[in-house]
């Protein structure tokens, strides 16, 4: 059974929208079907008003559209901070985070008697002190009977795709790696992450086996999560017995927790596929992209699984995407011409009697297919616009050069110095140059100092902030376990040796063969996850810690490390579409097909991640001036 996070979250939200009454017939309702009638037990509570706060609105926005809300009987929706007026004789549905401000606001609304009855849904568990606070406020104003029901929904995460989720906790990487952070702050962050992960597991209804690397935030999060799950499982009934007895160990997934420092290069590099490009250049947030149109009209597009072109082409490289758009456009034009021809378009067409019935049939088909054709046209327009804007950016910033250079460095381990320095001095925004330089740092264990000097001078000439660069240098010197470089270094050795012996031709051949064999480079993350899922002894992952919330606390018991069919991979500090793609490919190419869900505290593109690194560099007090490499 494949774990489909987005569908589960959607069905829970639909149930919530129906005021948590008996689940509507038909099980999980996908967000695109809007034909569900408001089936309720009592006929009186059919129409409701939905009130959300900012975070919960971002939870709902990738899952449900406004029209679909209407099909569940929601007439209006408001933000909780907005000044609202009385709407008598409707129940109000609140979906908010359990914070003191929200609780006060709810109490104020209840005392003003804005709505007839309130149904409160908190996105994660409401702690006891807040519950008492709510109760006392309500009793003071005498409005306690207005609150009909209170629920904990455990939905405090954003699921962007079927197998991709984010906890929407910004700047976690900065906070965790902040040199000035105290213990208490780190604990708070760990608590928040554990809360979010607990919600994810509760929604999926599984208790996984947890594995993580030793030391660092991953271990803290894993042990805290283990403790929380154990405490929760002691109470019966609990959230995990809802899933219907899936306790057989071969069905349990493995939860792998990683820290961003495990592999920094992925977060920074430029990628050439469609989806990471849109994310990077056009700032894809919550599956929505906003383009500045002509005449200062801002257009925003929705890009998710319901768009067939996006679903089919989001991992293809950019030139191929442009070709695909062309083919789709010509096919569309063909279809439109056919329809016009059959129904006697504009120029006079023979309307002879014998063919009349055929014509009416064609007319009916045409009328039926018109909505579909308009949909296709809209989709093609949308992607054409996006591709055009992307192309403009790529030309302006010569992103293809950056992609090639970084790819060479990370995969082949070789660097074309002239191209590198040319890019650093040439076109491209400051962040692009910085990212290239950092990728250079990360791809070599010990870069030759002369080159490093050249790169630093080039960067300084282009007036690039050096904070992030210095920070990565410092981190690299402190932390020698950058797994990414090891793989590429070994490949680089082979190629260098071949080059020395046989000249250029062999290296070209091997490069070509490599490209055929591996469509993208093998990320360290993917390798580790594969090893963890296989369960065979492997020097890389044997040192990883093992937590099993279902096993008894005392005594080791049999540690089940065997092959897992499903995995949940969590990255603390900032996830990336490139990682998501490689994990999806891993799931597809193993036999039998495995299923991997990927999540992170937030999904960052390269620019944002570099900003966080810059912030850390500033906090560390690393000057913008030149520091000789300390080694």
């Amino acid at each position: 059974m494949a774990l489909n996070l987005r569908q589960k979250q959607t069905s829970l939200i639909v149930r919530m929208l129906n005021l948590n009454q008996s689940p509507s017939p038909g099980g999980g309702i996908s967000s695109s079907s809007s034909a569900a009638a408001p089936t309720t037990a009592e006929g009186e509570e059919v129409y409701k008003i939905l009130i959300m706060d900012g975070f919960c609105r971002s939870i709902l926005s990738p899952l449900i559209r406004v029209n679909d809300l209407r099909s569940h009987g929601v007439t209006l929706f408001f933000g909780i901070d907005k000044e609202r007026q009385r709407v008598p004789d409707v129940p109000a549905l609140y979906f908010v985070r359990p914070t003191p401000e929200n609780v006060d606001r709810i109490a104020a609304d209840a005392s003003r008697a804005l709505y007839d009855s309130l149904h409160l849904n908190f996105s994660s568990s409401l702690p006891r002190p807040l519950l008492d606070r709510l109760a006392s406020r309500l009793v003071e104003s005498g409005a306690a009977d207005r609150v009909s029901r209170v629920f904990d929904q455990y939905l405090e995460f954003v699921s962007l795709e079927d197998a991709l989720f984010s906890l929407a906790q910004p700047r976690t990487y900065v906070h965790i790696n902040d040199p000035a952070a105290g213990d208490r702050e780190i604990e708070e962050i760990v608590e928040r992450i554990v809360g979010g992960l607990f919600c994810v597991l509760a929604t999926l209804g599984v208790v996984p086996v947890i594995r993580c690397a030793r030391g660092g935030p991953a271990e803290m999060v894993a042990s805290a999560l283990d403790a929380r799950l154990r405490d929760h499982l002691l109470a019966k009934p609990n959230l995990f017995s809802e899933g219907g007895g899936m306790a057989a160990s071969f069905q349990r997934p493995v939860l792998c927790i990683f820290d961003r420092n495990f592999e920094l290069a992925v977060g920074i590099q430029h990628d050439w596929s469609y989806r990471p490009l849109v994310h990077d250049v056009l700032d894809l947030k919550l599956n929505r992209v906003t383009l500045p149109g002509e005449k200062t009209a801002v257009k925003s597009y929705e890009l998710d699984d319901s768009d067939p072109f996006w679903a089919a082409n989001s991992w293809s490289p950019f030139p191929k995407v442009a070709e695909e758009i062309e083919t789709q456009l010509s096919k569309y034009k063909q279809d439109v011409d056919e329809v016009n021809q059959r129904t006697g378009g504009k120029d006079g067409v023979e309307f002879d009697g014998t063919d009349l019935i055929g014509n009416t049939k064609h007319l009916m088909n045409a009328v039926n297919s018109l909505p579909e054709l308009t949909e296709r046209k809209k989709m093609i327009d949308k992607h054409t616009n996006i591709a055009t804007v992307l192309l403009g950016h790529i030309k302006e910033r010569s992103l293809d050069g950056y992609c090639d250079c970084e790819n060479d460095m990370l995969v082949k381990g070789s660097v074309d110095r002239s191209m590198l320095l040319g890019l650093l001095r040439g076109k491209g925004t400051k962040e692009d140059k910085l990212r290239l330089a950092i990728t250079y740092l990360l791809s070599f264990e010990t870069p030759p100092p002369a080159e490093l000097e050249q790169i630093e001078t080039a960067l300084r000439e282009s007036e690039v902030d050096m904070y992030a660069f210095q920070y990565v240098k410092r981190i690299k010197s402190l932390n020698t376990s950058f797994a990414a470089s090891s793989a590429s270094a070994s490949r680089g050795n082979i190629v260098d040796w071949a080059e020395k012996l046989y000249g250029q031709s062999i290296s070209a051949v091997t490069a070509g063969v490599k490209n055929l064999l591996s469509a993208g480079r093998q990320l360290a993350l993917t390798r580790t996850v594969e090893a963890l899922m296989e369960g065979k002894p492997n020097p890389e992952v044997d040192s990883y810690l093992f937590f099993d919330p279902r096993a008894p606390r005392t005594g080791s018991g049999a540690q089940f490390k065997g092959p897992f069919r499903e995995a949940i991979v969590f990255m603390i500090g900032g996830g990336n579409y490139v990682e998501y793609r490689s994990l999806v490919e891993l799931g597809q190419r193993s036999q039998p097909a495995k299923h991997v869900i990927y999540g992170a505290t937030e999904i960052l593109n390269g620019v944002e991640f570099v900003q966080q690194l810059t912030e850390l560099g500033q906090k560390m007090g690393l000057g913008g001036g030149g520091l000789t490499q300390s080694q």
Partner: protein, 309 residues
């Protein structure tokens, strides 16, 4: 399934504790707890009652269609007459629902104009209307969308019926052509028989007979042609009417959607409007002080000039 997530019991306990700490008497406490268990029936406005009634009738329409679906679609169960009956009933039903929705819509509109006419100066009342008006528009929109989906369902059934009807007509046309040569052939047999019996002296009579028969043939053929053409035009009409029902309802839904969106915008505009008004009031008071100051200075300057000269 929702036992763990339901915190209502915890909430009620917390309320009880809070009530005790606030010094509620026993009777007040009992009343509070009772009100939790039994909700007092919410008073429903007339608008909501009408809306719920309309919803009921739409649901009944849906049930009716589902019940008769098999009868309607299956070729051999019912006659054409019964199918027409079903269609007629459904059309009447749809019209009734549509009228109810229209009444609701106009009611909102009337209440809106009436409210705004009376309370031009009392901004608070206007503000409290905006949300409610938007909500009512939302209710009406939901109703009309539901009606639209039900009629779309029915239109699908109708198109299936028309397909069957058209398929039946097509082979019939081919069958029609066959009897024509047959009748021609039988007609040409008669003159042959006539020829055998008559001698050459009655050739003129034969010719007249032939002429009559040819004319009769012509008339019959033209009749047939007319009949066929009539059938075809009827087919065209029916296929054009195919989407009629659902498009009308769709139009209505679109209109209502437009109104709804305007109402939602109005709720935002009211807030902005209030802000602008308070700013205007502030500016008003500040300009008043300035005016006062100006006049005072003017007076003093006149007195000064008077004293000076």
């Amino acid at each position: 399934m929702s036992k763990v997530r339901d915190r209502t019991e915890d909430f009620r306990d917390a309320v009880r504790v809070a009530a005790l700490s606030h010094g509620y008497t026993e009777s007040q406490l009992a009343a509070l707890m009772a009100s939790f268990i039994m909700h007092k029936a919410p008073r429903q406005s007339a608008f909501m009652k009408a809306a719920l009634k309309t919803l009921e009738s739409i649901k009944e329409l849906e049930r009716f269609i589902v019940k008769h679906r098999k009868d309607y679609v299956d070729l051999h169960r019912t006659t054409e007459q019964e199918r027409d009956n079903i269609e007629h009933e459904v059309a009447v039903f749809v019209k009734v629902c549509k009228d109810q929705i229209d009444i609701l819509k106009n009611r909102i509109h009337d209440e809106e104009t009436e409210g705004s006419g009376r309370t031009w100066l009392q901004f608070r009342d206007d503000a409290s209307h905006a949300d409610m008006v938007a909500h009512k528009h939302g209710v009406v929109l939901i109703l009309s969308e539901k009606l639209h989906s039900v009629t779309a369902q029915f239109d699908q059934l109708r198109s299936v019926r028309f397909q069957d009807a058209m398929n039946r007509v097509m082979p019939r046309r081919k069958v029609h052509r066959l009897p024509q040569p047959k009748s021609e052939a039988s007609k040409s047999d008669l003159p042959k028989l006539g020829e055998q019996e008559l001698s050459s002296g009655t050739i003129r009579v034969q010719e007249q007979l032939l002429d009559d028969e040819t004319r009769a043939l012509q008339v019959e053929l033209t009749n047939l042609l007319d009949a066929v053409q009539e059938t075809e035009t009827k087919m065209v009409e029916m296929s054009a009417l195919n989407h009629l029902m659902s498009t009308h309802v769709l139009q209505q839904a679109q209109q209502i959607e437009h109104l709804y969106e305007q109402a939602v915008e109005a709720t935002n505009n009211v807030v902005l409007g209030n802000k602008e008004l308070s700013q205007a009031i502030k500016r008003n008071s500040s300009s008043r002080t300035f005016l006062l100051l100006f006049f005072v200075v003017l007076t003093f300057s006149i007195l000064f000039l008077d004293w000076y000269s």
